[in-house]
């Protein structure tokens, strides 16, 4: 589902965010991306949805060569990738419903389809009670649920979550990870970057560790630190 071949990313300021990354992630996988701050986790994710372009190497997502993708095709790539952010990136002046429906609107979906799928996604994340609330009126966990609902409302085959629990308390973090696990079980590839040791250790998923832009560990049933 996701493949990186010899990927390097250097920024114009001379920072090598990623060097020589080779990686394959299959369809049903749930992967933790770990590594200290500045290791390159966010950069790696941005390469997948073409927010950044690799300096060299090849990125393939859902059989699409992202590196060579024509700019006009980027929107269609992104409709196949749900993205969850640490800071939620919800639109403040719109309700939860509007925020989630937004991701369907941009595809030009019919109003009835938008309504049905939005409600389904909100039900899945357990936010039906808050459809008409504005982001300001939500707790951190609820905001993240809204963000996840938006990410999956299109039924994308891939879900990327960049530090989804960075702003949440431990119990809420745990709920969010359960939700991501549930989504993974519904046939979605899930990649989660995190600094949350307890969760990684508890969930026993595949763990990929970056350090200074290099892939230093790729471990099935892994833990946050090397044992």
């Amino acid at each position: 589902m996701i493949e990186l071949i010899n990927v390097t990313k250097s920024f114009t300021n001379g920072i090598h965010a990623l060097s020589g990354i080779n990686l394959h992630i299959g369809k049903e996988e749930f992967v933790f991306l770990v590594g200290s701050s500045g290791a390159g986790k966010t950069t790696l994710m941005k390469l997948l949805y073409r927010d950044e372009i690799p300096t060299s190497g090849k990125v393939i997502v859902d059989r699409i060569n992202v590196t060579e993708l024509d700019a006009s095709q980027i929107p269609y790539l992104r409709r196949n990738i749900g993205i969850v952010f640490q800071d939620f990136k919800l639109l403040p002046k719109r309700t939860v419903y509007e925020n989630v429906a937004f991701a369907l609107r941009v595809t030009g979906a019919l109003r009835s389809t938008i309504r049905r799928k939005t409600m389904q996604a909100l039900e899945l994340v357990g936010l039906l009670r808050r459809v008409n609330s504005f982001p300001d009126e939500l707790s951190g966990g609820e905001k993240q649920r809204a963000c996840i609902a938006r990410a999956i409302v299109n039924n994308p085959p891939i879900l990327l979550a960049d530090e989804p629990t960075g702003n949440l308390d431990p119990a809420t973090s745990w709920d969010i990870l359960q939700l991501l696990d549930k989504i993974n079980k519904r046939n979605t590839t899930v990649v989660v970057s995190t600094h949350n040791k307890n969760i990684v250790d508890e969930m026993k998923k595949r763990v990929i560790e970056l350090e200074g832009g290099r892939l230093v560990r790729d471990q099935q049933l892994g833990t946050y630190n090397v044992k």
Binding site: Y49, D51, S72, R78, I83, L91, V106, G108, A109
Partner: protein, 296 residues
């Protein structure tokens, strides 16, 4: 596209409401430019109309002081009427002219006692098809040997014509400059609303919106601003023109001002579509620029 139209329109109005003051400035600018544009158009067209009606009444007069036989006079008349641009030629012999003159004045004084010789010339009244041809026709008639003098009122017409073309050139330049200024203001107005919504746009693009999808609300915002400006200015022009024309025609009922409904409608339509186009192009330029410069 159609299913998104409602969304685009709602977004456009939302955006206008959020930057109400700037939108108002943009609309006011459009109103000013379009009204001036319409005023100049009406001014030029009306002046042209008036000149046209004056020049259609324009005649040219040729005098022959020598004695002419009636035969010779007839030959010259035919010669003149065969000149290109000549519509009609009337001949008045010096005798006829003298008799007419005497008929008119004999009641007041006895001319025969004062003047023994007929001092009047033979006269050819020449009607020319169009005022532009007057100088040429006059030249041709002057070159006939026996003709002593040719007179026409060409100078006034020439002056009015050059005034019209000055107004036309000045008006066109002013309108072009105003259009650019208006476009600039519309572009910047909408650019501000685009920048205010940069995060929205970034998120829209992250969830897979195409550039066109992102652009449409702003283009529609421009169209709305343009339509409001266009309609307002055409109403201002229509009402004030009608009032002014009524006034003038009360004082000078024969002045050939433009009251033709079709032509006026065409001018108003031009203003409406001009405003719409200004707004639409402004919206398109601003959102395209921001998308290009500030996001990849």
């Amino acid at each position: 596209m159609l299913s998104s139209l409602e969304f685009f329109i709602v977004e456009a109005f939302r955006s206008i409401r959020r930057s109400a003051l700037m939108s108002f400035v943009a609309i006011a600018t459009i109103i000013v430019s379009l009204t001036i544009f319409g005023l100049f158009l009406l001014l030029v067209l009306n002046m042209g109309n008036i000149v046209g009606s004056i020049s259609s009444r324009m005649d040219l007069v040729a005098y022959v002081y020598k004695d002419l036989s009636l035969d010779d006079a007839g030959v010259i008349q035919i010669k003149i009427s065969n000149l290109p641009g000549v519509e009609k030629v009337e001949f008045t012999s010096k005798t006829e002219a003298w008799n007419n003159f005497k008929d008119e004045f004999n009641s007041k004084l006895n001319l025969n006692e004062v003047v023994y010789d007929n001092p009047l010339p033979h006269t050819y009244m020449v009607r020319v098809r169009n005022a532009d041809m007057l100088p040429q026709v006059a030249k041709e008639i002057s070159s006939i040997d026996v003709v002593d003098e040719v007179r026409y009122n060409g100078k006034l017409i020439q002056q009015i014509k050059s005034l019209i073309s000055a107004v036309r050139v000045g008006g066109t330049a002013l309108v072009i400059m105003l259009s650019f200024a208006t476009l600039l203001i519309v572009v910047n107005t909408i650019r501000l609303t685009v920048i205010a919504r940069e995060t929205d746009i970034y998120i829209m693009k992250l969830v897979g919106a195409t550039d066109n999808f992102v652009k449409w609300p702003f283009i529609i915002e421009g169209i709305i601003i343009g339509v409001v400006g266009g309609v307002t200015s055409l109403l201002i022009l229509k009402l004030s023109y009608e009032a002014v024309v009524n006034r003038i025609l009360q004082a000078l009922p024969f002045l050939p001002l433009i009251t033709d409904y079709g032509l006026l409608m065409a001018i108003y339509a031009t203003m409406f579509f001009g405003g719409t186009a200004l707004g639409m192009i402004g919206g398109y330029i601003s959102v395209s620029r921001v998308l290009k410069n500030e996001m990849q």
